[in-house]
Amino acid sequence: MTERIPVVENILSANDRLAEENRARINAAGVFSINLMASPGAGKTSIIEQTLPRLKDKLCVAVIDGDIATSLDADRASSAGAQASIQINTGGECHLDAVMLHGALNQLDLTKFDLLIVENVGNLVCPAEFRLGTHKSVLIASVPEGDDKPYKYPGMYRGVDALVINKIDLLPYVPFKMDFFQRGVEALNPGVVTLPLSCRTGEGLDAWINWILQNVKR
């Protein structure tokens, strides 16, 4: 005899439970954590390289890097002064999930750090669906990607706590309409903290560093 059993269980609930466990571990160590997300080439690793020297005398920072292969990004974070740098190779997986972060946290004595930066796999779709357990999600947009990205990748833009707009030094050279871009952002994520900057010239980086320091203090 066939029978229907009601289930109503969220398919990503296992990931979400593990994300909560990650959050509890990070909280217990008194660490502030951010999940950096962006498309490939937007400047995730560059912003980490610019951030670490500016926090050198203030905070002890660990970096966890997610990539499909290689440890190039973690090596760059090490060279820029990360006190610990862990590379996760996802093996084809297009995003980090809570299981992978859990595995990486096992390699870290979190109590030694003030700040944990997780650099997600370069991708504007999938990372938005998988919570990791970090405190704040940050999206790095960049000027040469084009001003239509909020409209094309709404899932990513609507879920973040702060939005960095990188490579503003290129604004005179590319057709990027800031009004159009910000209208899309405002539609999806009203009032989100927006930090325009350039990793190349250093413009705007002070505001980004202050945003981190304010959050660490809390």
Partner: protein, 129 residues
Amino acid sequence: MMYTTLVDFRKNLISMHELPVTQSILKIALEHAEKANAKRITDLHIVQGELSSMVDDSIQFYWEIIAKDTIAQNATLHFRRVPAELQCMACFQKYHPKDGELVCPNCGSVGAKIVAGEEFFVEAIDIDE
């Protein structure tokens, strides 16, 4: 001190976005089937919002591989779509967002709350006892 630690998931070579998701669907179905003393799972009813980025063809592809040799082998996956619904934060009009259109059709404001469309869950399973 500078060091790099490598945590390697590359042994899971076929792994892609929908594989862990499909594993999660199977796990949920098997748990509920076991509780009901099922001999076989014949159908799964999955609810998927329009704003969810999961691809049902990929889920179907992985399903056939991973459900093999379980009581859910040959079970049919049914996807029920929930259309996206936004609510304007200025005039409270509810509307369906058309492609790339993020403006309220009633008052022209931007800025909306998502009312529906993000669902992604197993609603029910059909079993043989």
